[in-house]
């Protein structure tokens, strides 16, 4: 299919294909220019146009066609002859200057950017036409110069600005220096050089509307960038989409497998671990299903979308995607409802207290049982002999993501009586007070008192089958005044109401324990007390010296003032009220 144009040539209406029209127009322009200086140019051109019309009509009749194509035009031009072949030089007349100039100009090549055979802006192809080379070699050379310090890019941009693009047919012909127009025209080397010089002159002429050229350059550059992004960029997007598809499918498989695992296909013991221990046994199936849908559907949607991007193919239809949306919303609703239901089970608070009076000792050692707690089943599974104390698995005390918050907290307080007392407070939440109390009773906690050594287990456990409802264990140790406490290093982090690390620093020893004593003002670090005592002694010594100096009453009033100032400071530090 080709667009046709209706032309009126020599008073004849002719349908002509666009490409043929271009050709014919170019030819007639040549003819007009050729005869422009001729006295009877109008008549001659009219004659020629009439004749062309006649020839075209004849051809159409002969070939039983309705539309003139390029072949017709070419044969007519061949018959009429190219302008170079018109030899009308009149005897005795000067040769028409314009025809000569035109002929020369026409036969000569011009430097244009070839827009038909371009990679970026057609610069390389244009140069290739000009020097009669294969464009690919020019391109290879250009790319090589890019590697040689990148100067090629600059030169390319410059040529992009300077070289006009070949727009019209004539310009394209000039660019290629159509061999047909070189008939009978042989340039020697001198002429060739002359032409090059002229070309350089023309480059200067081109430089004049440099701003206009810059505008063209910029708009073309962005046009090229756009083409690059929509071409190469598309590929990158597709690769990314492909990756998403692969990883998304893997993720979906993982989800299915883990859903199956939670469903108890392999191991139901996972519900003993936090945060799964929050969920009530009866609701597990529902919550699992809801959570599965909430996670699964968006990933599935992402994968489907990526498939569409990567393969340009609609993976599912609208109805199905709408159904997916509904399913997802349902999943969100179910999960939300269950979450609300579970959180309602934290409404009530209950405490359970158990008090034990301990045997009196002048000093207690507080230690933490580092061995990890194992249930009987686990001990069997891990091949640990629970009765063999030489074989213990050490708890690192560090909380991973799936460890229930089950650390104990120890408060050490002054006893009002002379009895050492340990209070264990079990706390829990629940939907009702009763269920909260029940949950608190599900806490199992152990400590041992062996002579004067108190060994606490760092974590409490929940009895099997019970659910996590923010259970806590708080221990309160009431110690009579004057009793010493030796805190082992492991216990530091569990002591809630004293900052034990300061004492460790004060001791300066590399002991794995610190010694404390209960005073009327609460528990004190023995090392810190010693330090304070030394400091107090020093201050008292200084004070007595200063007071001696003050008594001597030196004549120097400045010195007198500084001494009394210092006395005030020292007294302040010692806690002595100024008179």
């Amino acid at each position: 299919m080709e667009k046709t144009i209706i032309i009126n040539i020599g008073n004849t209406i002719i349908h002509i294909e666009e490409s043929a029209y271009e050709l014919l127009k170019a030819y007639l322009n040549e003819v007009k220019q050729y005869f422009a200086n001729h006295a009877d140019d109008l008549e001659i051109v009219t004659d020629i146009e009439n004749r062309i019309a006649e020839l075209l009509t004849e051809q159409l009749e002969e070939q039983k066609k309705q539309v003139v194509d390029s072949a017709n035009v070419n044969s007519v031009i061949a018959q009429m002859g190219k302008v170079q072949d018109f030899d009308t030089t009149e005897p005795g007349e000067e040769e028409p200057v314009i025809s000569n100039a035109y002929q020369q100009q026409y036969a000569e090549k011009k430097l244009y950017r070839d827009m038909d055979d371009r990679v970026v802006a057609g610069v390389c192809a244009g140069i290739a036409h000009y020097v009669n080379a294969d464009p690919k070699w020019i391109r290879v050379a250009t790319v090589l110069t890019v590697f040689l310090g990148g100067s090629g890019i600059l030169v390319y941009a410059l040529l992009w600005i300077i070289m006009p693009k070949a727009k019209s047919r004539i310009e394209r012909m000039e660019m290629k220096g159509e061999p047909a127009n070189l008939q009978g025209f042989q340039k020697n080397l001198d002429e060739e050089l002359l032409a090059v010089k002229e070309r350089l002159g023309e480059v200067n002429k081109h430089a004049q509307p440099i701003f206009a050229r810059l505008g063209i350059f910029i708009s073309e550059f962005f046009e090229w960038l756009g083409r690059f992004i929509s071409g190469t960029g598309k590929v990158i997007f597709k690769v990314i989409a492909g990756c998403i598809v692969v990883f998304g499918v893997l993720f979906l498989l993982t989800l299915i497998i883990s859903a199956a695992a939670f469903q108890g296909f392999w191991d139901a013991s996972i519900y003993e671990y936090f945060p799964f221990s929050i969920i009530n046994e009866g609701n597990r199936g529902v919550i699992l299903f809801g959570a599965f849908i909430v996670c699964f559907v968006p990933v599935l949607a992402l994968v489907l979308f990526s498939i569409r991007v990567a393969f340009n193919k609609q993976a599912i239809n609208k109805t199905l995607s709408f159904a997916l949306l509904i399913i997802w919303l349902a999943g969100v609703a179910v999960t939300g409802y269950q979450a609300a239901k579970i959180s309602s089970e934290f409404k009530q608070h209950a405490e359970l207290t158990q008090t034990v009076d301990l045997k009196s000792f002048p000093a207690y050692t507080i230690n933490i049982d580092k061995s990890k707690y194992f249930s009987k089943e686990d001990s069997v599974a891990y091949h640990i002999d629970a009765n063999n104390r030489h074989q213990i698995v050490v708890d690192d005390f560090e909380d991973g993501p799936f460890v229930s918050p089950n650390h104990i907290r120890i408060n050490i307080e002054k006893s009002e009586t002379s009895v050492t007392r340990l209070t264990q407070k079990y706390e829990s939440q629940g939907k009702t007070f009763q269920s909260a109390l029940q949950n608190a009773q599900n806490i199992s906690y152990t400590y041992t008192l062996k002579d004067a050594e108190l060994i606490f287990s760092p974590r409490f456990q929940l009895r099997k089958g019970s659910i996590w409802r923010n259970q806590e264990v708080r221990l309160t140790l009431e110690v009579p005044v004057g009793t010493k406490l030796i805190l082992k290093e492991d216990s530091y982090r569990y002591v809630n109401n004293y900052w034990t690390w300061d004492c460790k620093n004060a001791e300066n020893d590399h002991n794995d324990f610190t010694v404390w004593i209960m005073t009327e003002d609460g528990l004190k670090c023995v090392a810190q007390l010693k330090e304070e005592a030394i400091k107090k002694q020093q201050l008292e010594q200084e004070l007595s010296n200063l007071e001696l100096m003050h008594k001597d009453k030196p004549t120097d009033t400045v010195f007198q003032d500084s001494v009394s100032n210092r006395i005030r400071e020292v007294k302040e530090e010692l806690g002595i009220k100024p008179e």
């Binding site: 009877d40 190219k82 005897p91």
Partner: protein, 111 residues
């Protein structure tokens, strides 16, 4: 170059003479003139003829009539004017002289 130039000059002069001779035989259409010239191997392309005809016409050697064509618009048919006939007879004479001159030049006066 010199040979080429001379050839061109010779062709040009003879072309005009031949065109006048062809037209002198009767009213004729431009493309028919071309056909005859082509048969005589004097001319290759039609484009050359139109400027020539126009010039001869403007010099009063030719005149033309518009003749209706069976297909398409009317055509120009050329005829010789009286002046044209006069010039042609002069040219005929000149041609005789030239032919003689060439013959003599080539073969020598005595042969």
């Amino acid at each position: 170059m010199i040979a080429e130039n001379t050839q061109t000059q010779m062709r040009k002069g003879i072309l005009e003479y031949c065109v006048l001779s062809i037209i002198s035989r009767g009213e004729i259409y431009a493309s028919d003139i071309i056909a005859e010239l082509r048969a005589a191997k004097l001319l290759v392309v039609e484009g050359t003829l139109y400027p020539l005809l126009t010039r001869l016409k403007n010099n009063g050697l030719l005149s033309y009539n518009w003749v209706e064509s069976t297909s398409g618009p009317p055509r120009k048919y050329y005829t010789l004017t009286e002046d044209g006939r006069g010039i042609l007879s002069q040219l005929d004479q000149t041609w005789q002289e030239l032919a003689y001159a060439v013959g003599i030049s080539q073969k020598g006066a005595n042969s």
